[in-house]
């Protein structure tokens, strides 16, 4: 535990170091300023750097942390983790033609993913074509997932273990955005390659949508010849915040092969709502997301694989100090709290007609310091209760995380 204290104090000392990076060649790009920013704008609403007059903007973010966790008294000791480093490049090919790509390196080079690589063509602000590798806009986190935007080291459980976080696929679709007075509205609709049978055949031993990401072939071909549809509508008001409704669905099983019918078409559908607002008087930010998953699991498989799942999270972030800290003029010190819950199986046991458990409840109080808008230092404490399929006494996990996430 002494190491944690030493690291924490070291962290406080290190933040006094001022940045040495300054270049006349690099300048910050102009962000989307049409009406209120929506989650759908997150892909471009990043601190890109433009190289002189070249039509290329570059950027990225990285996040790393220290972690000490124990589950029922047993842990892996002290850990440093390089969660991810992401690079993005944006190019204005021509007027109203732009291309953006996002490449992520997770845990060093353990996973390298092209999360986004798409051409956007603007016909009007309400009608844009997007084609390439698209990030499916289910709920809010999937689109708006950059680490520096969040006060928490871990991504929300519902976004990573119920829904497939940063789930991207090759395909195409339309999106648009409009605004009137205090209101903004947007829509997105894409058809992509997508699901596969890993949803019910995975190492998690439960219905697990994130397992679909294991299929790297999805960028080359559809697993079953069916397309995944994703759509989202958003409505935002400058006083009340943004509200989003989204749906993603398609066939996940290999229902035919080489001309032979193997099974009926089995669907997996996700419905989600998301909401974010800022209470202007208190400057309190609230982000919430809730999702329902419905999967057509064969009755002859095992009820261990749930047909219905639910889950979501609420983040509340309260600035407690704004001002100069260690020479950073616009520092913000936040207190934050995340509450999250996921139930991977809303079913009942055939044998007893009693509820199946398989759920998790987690709370994460946090303190974060933002010396600039693009960088966040975090101190998180997570406590969670995870109940197994049968509803046995939950395993309890406590974790302390100290980390940093920054755009560069």
């Amino acid at each position: 535990m002494k190491k944690i204290t030493v690291f924490a104090i070291g962290l406080c000392v290190s933040i006094q170091l001022s940045s040495q990076v300054s270049s006349e060649l690099l300048r910050r790009g102009v962000r989307d300023s049409i009406g209120l920013p929506l989650n759908m704008n997150a892909i471009y609403n990043r601190p890109f750097l433009k190289l002189n007059k070249l039509p290329l903007a570059i950027g990225g973010y990285a996040e790393a942390n220290y972690q000490y966790a124990k589950e029922n008294g047993i842990g892996e000791g002290h850990q440093f983790q390089m969660r991810r480093m992401t690079l993005f490049f944006s190019t204005a090919i021509a007027n109203r033609f732009s291309y953006l790509s996002e490449i992520e390196f997770e845990e060093g080079t353990k996973e390298i993913n092209i999360e986004f690589a798409a051409l956007d063509v603007e016909f009007t602000s309400l009608l844009n074509l997007r084609t390439g590798i698209i990030m499916n806009p289910i709920a809010a986190f999937n689109q708006n997932h950059d680490g520096p935007k969040w006060e928490f080291v871990d991504r929300p459980i519902a976004a990573t273990q119920l829904l497939p976080a940063t789930f991207s696929n090759v395909g195409m679709g339309l999106y648009g955005k409009g605004n009137q007075n205090d209101w903004s509205y947007g829509y997105e609709f894409y058809l992509t390659n997508g699901w596969n049978d890993k949803i019910i055949a995975n190492d998690e031993n439960k219905t697990f949508l994130p397992a679909v990401k294991e299929n790297k072939d999805r960028f080359e071909e559809s697993f079953n010849g069916s397309l995944l549809a994703t759509s989202k509508v958003s409505l935002a008001n400058s006083k009340f915040g943004e509200f989003g409704l989204s749906w993603m669905g398609g066939v996940y099983n290999k229902f035919q092969d080489d001309g032979f019918v193997l099974d009926k078409k089995r669907r997996a559908d996700v419905f989600a709502i998301d909401f974010n607002t800022k209470i202007s008087k208190l400057q309190t930010s609230i982000v919430a997301e809730w999702a329902w998953v419905i999967v057509d699991v064969p009755a002859t498989y095992t009820e261990q694989f749930g047909k219905k799942q639910v889950g979501g999270f609420v983040d509340v972030v309260q600035p407690i100090y704004k001002g100069k800290i260690f020479g950073f003029e616009n520092s913000i010190l936040n207190a934050a709290m995340r509450v999250e819950y996921v139930d991977w199986n809303k079913g009942k046991f055939n044998s007893t007609n009693e509820n199946i458990s398989e759920d998790i409840f987690s709370i994460t109080p946090a303190i974060s310091w933002r010396p600039t808008a693009e960088t966040v230092f975090r101190l998180n404490y997570r406590y969670q209760w995870k109940t197994d399929l049968l509803g046995n006494p939950p395993s309890k996990q406590g974790a302390i995380q100290i980390g940093v996430s920054t755009y560069f």
């Binding site: 008294g73 031993n205 498989y301």
Partner: protein, 400 residues
């Protein structure tokens, strides 16, 4: 401004110190006697390594169609049936069918002896063939199995009284079984007409933990091995879908799981309850103490254990006779279930009891009252107890 900075730094440092100095923020490990899992004390470094590998294979390895699951199966992992190494839940009951007497299973060509009641997509699970009787077996606890494996055949025979020579109404006998070629025959094995003494499973029809493990992979998950080579779906010899080493590791894990530890042993109510347990004759089958023989695992060798079982078959009466059996057991005969760990069963069964071979008893008292045959005397004695005595007996059983 300096004050402000100092305040902020103070808040941060205080938060860090508070967090790291408060051990209560991290959940404590449960006491050894509060859980069933965990290794036996005194293992060598090599045995600990095997335990850890076996633990991972047993509890974490999930079989999928890609990894060989099925196509017909009951569960997708060992841990699915044995959560926390405790008793199982009706969700993973094993349904056995096709044998009514010692002449063997008459339905082996129709999927016997075990029903694979689940199937991967595109396949249909088995149905119980018309004309076949069946029984449901709840997965047993896996703790302490290594100790039970090391009890000598001679000890078991010394406890048996097949023809009730002492006239106490209890006539335990071993299940004489045929064994597969891959089991490790005990150095002190007692053989009768080419048959060996079985000791694992509800009918004591399994010789050792290797047979139990290879059978479970094959019959429960549809995973073939070099020990059990036949695919349960096609009936064909197929390539092994699990490595020999994994089987060995899992066997090593099961052998070295600790024996359940009795709790509140000095509590007067529990001491009285144990006395009542003996006086009502429960201990005649649920033998309180056994001693293991020599074991190559020193931690298991020549140890006194308290499984509360004689590992023998007893006639439990018509009420518990499902018309199905294994080996030379009668369909009304059941191996005495070890009672150690009984009080912790709820922690692995979803917060409630599912007792007896098929989980039909939801309380310990109900389980006692369902005893018939050789167990009828003890059941009657239990019914004669006053409320305080019953309470003491039940507290004792829950302490196991």
């Amino acid at each position: 401004m300096n004050k402000k900075i100092n305040s902020v730094v103070g808040v941060l440092v205080a938060a860090c110190v508070l967090v790291v100095s408060c051990a209560k923020l991290f959940p404590k490990a449960p006491e050894d006697d509060a859980v069933l899992d965990g290794p036996v004390e005194g293992l060598t470094a090599e045995q600990k390594a095997i335990f850890i590998r076996g633990d991972v294979a047993f509890n974490d390895e999930i079989f999928t169609p890609e990894k060989g699951l099925g196509p017909l199966f009951v569960a997708t992992s060992c841990g699915t049936c044995h959560a926390g190494d405790g008793k199982g839940h009706p969700f993973t009951s094993l349904i056995r069918f096709g044998q009514t007497n010692s002449l063997g299973n008459q339905f082996l060509n129709q999927g016997g002896p075990q029903l694979q009641n689940r199937a991967i997509p595109g396949f249909l699970p088995e149905q119980i063939p018309i004309g076949s009787t069946f029984s449901k077996f709840l997965p047993p606890a896996t703790t302490g199995l290594g100790f039970l494996e090391e009890v000598s055949d001679a000890t078991l025979l010394s406890l048996s009284d097949e023809f009730d020579a002492n006239g106490d109404g209890i006539s335990g006998r071993p299940n004489w079984i045929s064994i597969p070629s891959y089991v490790n025959i005990r150095r002190d094995a007692i053989i009768q007409n080419g048959k060996y003494i079985g000791r694992f499973g509800r009918k004591a029809a399994v010789y050792d933990l290797r047979q139990q493990t290879a059978n479970a992979y094959n019959q429960d998950m549809g995973i073939s091995s070099n020990f059990e080579t036949i695919d349960t779906y096609s009936g064909q010899v197929v390539d092994a879908e699990v490595a020999n080493k994994t089987i060995h590791d899992v066997v090593g894990y099961l052998q070295t799981l600790k024996a359940p530890i009795q709790r509140n042993i000095s509590n007067q109510e529990i001491i009285s309850g144990k006395q009542i347990f003996i006086e009502t004759g429960c201990g005649k089958c649920h033998t309180p103490q056994l001693t293991t023989g020599y074991s190559s695992i020193a931690a298991l060798s020549r140890k006194q254990i308290s499984p509360y079982s004689d590992l023998l078959l007893h006639d439990m009466g018509s009420g518990l006779d499902d018309g199905y059996t294994e080996g030379s057991a009668l369909s009304s005969e059941w191996r005495t279930t070890p009672l150690w760990g009984l009080g912790l069963s709820k922690q692995s069964q979803g917060g409630q009891y599912f007792l007896l071979h098929d989980g039909r008893a939801k309380t310990i008292e109900k389980a006692i009252l369902l005893h018939g045959g050789e167990g009828a005397q003890s059941k009657n004695a239990f019914q004669q107890l006053n409320a305080q005595q019953k309470s003491q007996l039940l507290k004792f059983l829950e302490s196991l």
